[in-house]
Amino acid sequence: MSPRSRLAWIAALVAAFAGACTSAPRAAAPKPPRASAAHGARALGAAATSPAQSDTRPLPNPCARRHSDAVALPESPVRQSSTIALARLADRTIAYVADADRRALHTVDVDSRAVLATTPLGGAPSQLVVLADGRVVVSLRDANRITLLEPAPAPEQGLAPLCEARTPSEPIGLFVTPNESTLFVTSGWGHALTAFAGDTLEPRYAVALPREPRAVYVEPSGRRAFVSHAVGDQISIVDLEDPLHARRSVDLRRHNGENSSRHTGQGFVLSALVGTNPEHVTRLLAPMVSVDQDAGSISTETYGSRFLAAAPLVAVVDTTSESLLGRHLSVLGGLERAGGPEKACTLPRAAALAGDRLLLGCLGVDAVLELDARARDPMHFERRRFRVPAGPMGIAAEPGRERAVVWSQFAATVSVLDLHEGAATKPAAEIVVSKELPPGLGSVEARGRILFHATNDPRISGDGRACASCHIDGREDGITWQTPEGRHQTIMLAGRMNEGAPFGWRGETIALRHHVGRTMKRLAGRGVFSGADFADLDALIAYLKVMPAPVRVEPDEARRVLVARGRELFDDPRQGCATCHPGGGTDRSAYDVARSPYHIPFDTPSLRFVGGTAPYFHDGRYATLGDLLRGVDGTMGHTGSLSDDELRALEAYLEDL
């Protein structure tokens, strides 16, 4: 992205959020009054300010604390968000839990093992962070907002909303700078890092990032932000001192000393290893997974290698040289060296440091690994592992007390781990926050979700890959896999599964059950055979149909006009886009769009959410939608006669689908 276009993007983004600050609230409860334009955030739940006051005095900051009673405070400054965070109130340890399924924030007393309160939120919370004065910032992924809450004087009373602010689509990771002057937010679908004023939540600037950013860490000097990505072979580095916030990256493509056919993704967490000088963080630990899109695949019927396709690792980033410590990733030994499919952490989702130990929460195997954080690759230096309930999505450590708490989303349970040497490797306590299934997720779908993330199910794959390994968050990993029929890109699932048959790039199956079973066999799984397996297959399919789709953001007026123009072009018979993609969907037919010598027809895929699924075409030959529109003229619609402005409009429409 050129500096000029970057500036334009930033300006548009900031303008959009600034404009949003005074807009009416959508889902927060209770209904808040309109916020003052003097503050970036919308006030929530505050007493109305009298006209006289607003005429004569500066308006009170709606984000400020409203009572002065003691509340739980973070014992050690944890600036980085998770789905669970700890705070201390007198001699009690309080855990705040972001429960995305129940769209609520739980307050849990870790010592008495009691759920003290459940605070409903205006959206599904991704993560949270506790500020120094006890207020809690929560990112609401499906509401495109962050919200700031204040604990009630008694933790049993829950938290009250103070203010909120709009973000690019799908806010996830949060980071508060040491002086709390700035709050950084990553947006997954919106692929952005947004800075907000820490005291008012007023948007300051936004930086465009590559796809699917997740965790963010800002070094103590405040000069750089490091961002992990769920897809895309890199860790982004944003220069916060640069007026244009230039972005660099740590290249994660080098494996075993060379650039290979491996890709590194699943970067959901990022931890700073603090050494002797806390002000100078020299290393970041990024648990990730490397997969081989090519090796051994040409003569097999698999996606990627039948063996060792997935190799979990912890990339250690040298923050000074902005490169991998050791210059490359080592995947020798791959999955087997990490314990084999039954033990390997191929879906890392949560992390926390406890001294020189990295606690890593792993979906699929439902375990927390205690790794030696000082190792060349901590993933290969496991000191012990704790079994935890299904779906560990967050960890918070309490190093002074040699314990940690883990939030298991699928089981709705908080586990307390005893980190003392020699202690048992099962949780010291398990606190179930709710025994009822969350709304919109029945028992069948809940079972399907567990299966979707199962990394050691021989029915699904032969090498420990889960559905979620390639379909990260139900989406896709941006990888074009070598298959017997050529390169095929992982296809988006979330939000598209109700579009109907046929399925697969070749449209080879018309029943979803058949297609899922076929995919399992291509992953060297044994597929499904028994009656119990069929029940699981039905559960998996049920979950596919309800998994959350990406969250769109409301466009501003200029964008709305552009998208409308793009829609006209899309529907124009001269371009012919809508002929095969009526309404952006699919005509359920197949065409030889690749014009290969073998005349292979490819199924018309739905274009829902196509804007966030780069690269494009079945073989990923186009890096951007713009490249695609310019490259397929005559073979897939007719775009050759369109001007650059018209192509941009068409692109905008596709991005909006």
């Binding site: 002797t276 410590l325 290969h380 000191r383």
Partner: protein, 293 residues
């Protein structure tokens, strides 16, 4: 991130009892603190550049470059004898390099099994008819030396006809025993090398059932092996060795204090981010079960 850990022999002894019980295979690692400054360091030249595949005018191998002949001659009789232990009972390794590929690591790493005339240990004879000059490495670990453990490295061209060697590199250093004598270690510093290659950690251990080290291994014989890890800024390394009780038994013949005879895993991790003051070294061991092949 300045300190490293080593476990004491006593701790190993305590943990070994459980090693033979398959139900307790997951024995925790044992760590003990070790300071970098405690590891002896010696200035060393970069690795010797062995010249490969030189031939004379009629095609016969002639691996000793003329330029090397100008080096001062060394009396081979003063160097360790080619056998597992020298006359004083110290561990010694002599490796004769492959005649045609003296620089090839690959050409040497299988010698342990092949036992060809290039293998180590072998007997060597000198005399007018004993052939061409060969590259020869000698390594001597004097673990039981009363003044403290010492390690000697000599890499030389040996002219079998004259029984004289031309030393390419030679150094002698004290070494620090780790894990109660399970490993001996020292550092080399190379002023002429790149920063990343400027510092190397050397580890001498009993021959392992399986081992790997990021910096590779210098040799691997029936008695012991010598592995290397990078210590320069911007580098990281990992050493993992699983040593059978049989190797420990042999090792006990050359170390001053006998180790418990059991299967054991040794881990050493090195890492040195550019912005850090010095490298981090983590050393840990644990009892394991090594299944027979």
């Amino acid at each position: 991130m300045k300190t490293s850990h080593v476990f004491p022999a006593l701790a190993l002894a305590c943990s070994l009892g459980s090693a033979v019980n398959p139900a307790k295979a997951e024995v925790p690692y044992r760590f003990e603190e070790l300071r970098l400054a405690e590891i002896p360091s010696i200035e060393a030249e970069p690795d010797v550049a062995w010249v490969t595949e030189q031939f004379d005018t009629i095609g016969a191998p002639n691996p000793l470059p003329d330029s090397e002949r100008s080096r001062p001659a060394a009396d081979w009789s003063g160097l360790p004898r080619p056998r597992l232990t020298n006359e004083h009972g110290h561990a010694a390794v002599v490796r004769i390099r492959n005649l045609y590929h003296p620089d090839s690591h690959q050409a040497h790493q299988w010698l342990r099994y092949l036992q060809s005339d290039d293998a180590s240990p072998i007997a060597m004879a000198c005399g007018p008819d004993t052939g061409e000059p060969r590259g020869v490495d000698t390594y001597l670990l004097e673990a039981s030396r009363p003044e403290g453990p010492r390690y000697t490295v000599v890499e030389a061209w040996l002219d079998g006809k004259t029984c004289k060697g031309l030393a390419l590199r030679r150094y002698q250093t004290t070494v620090k025993p780790l894990a109660g004598g399970l490993a001996y270690t020292y550092r080399t510093h190379c002023a002429r090398c790149s920063p990343a290659q400027s510092e190397t950690l050397h580890v001498v251990i009993p021959t392992a059932m399986s081992s790997s080290a990021t910096g590779g291994f210098r040799y691997w014989t029936y008695l012991m092996e010598h592995l290397e890890l990078p210590l320069g800024p911007g580098t990281s390394g990992s050493l993992r060795a699983r040593i059978e009780e049989g190797s420990i038994r042999s090792w006990n013949r050359v170390v001053p204090r006998a180790l418990p005879v059991a299967d054991v895993e040794l881990r050493i991790e090195t890492s040195f981010a550019v912005g850090e003051d010095e490298p981090t070294i983590v050393l840990a061991t644990r009892a394991v079960n090594i299944l027979p092949l």
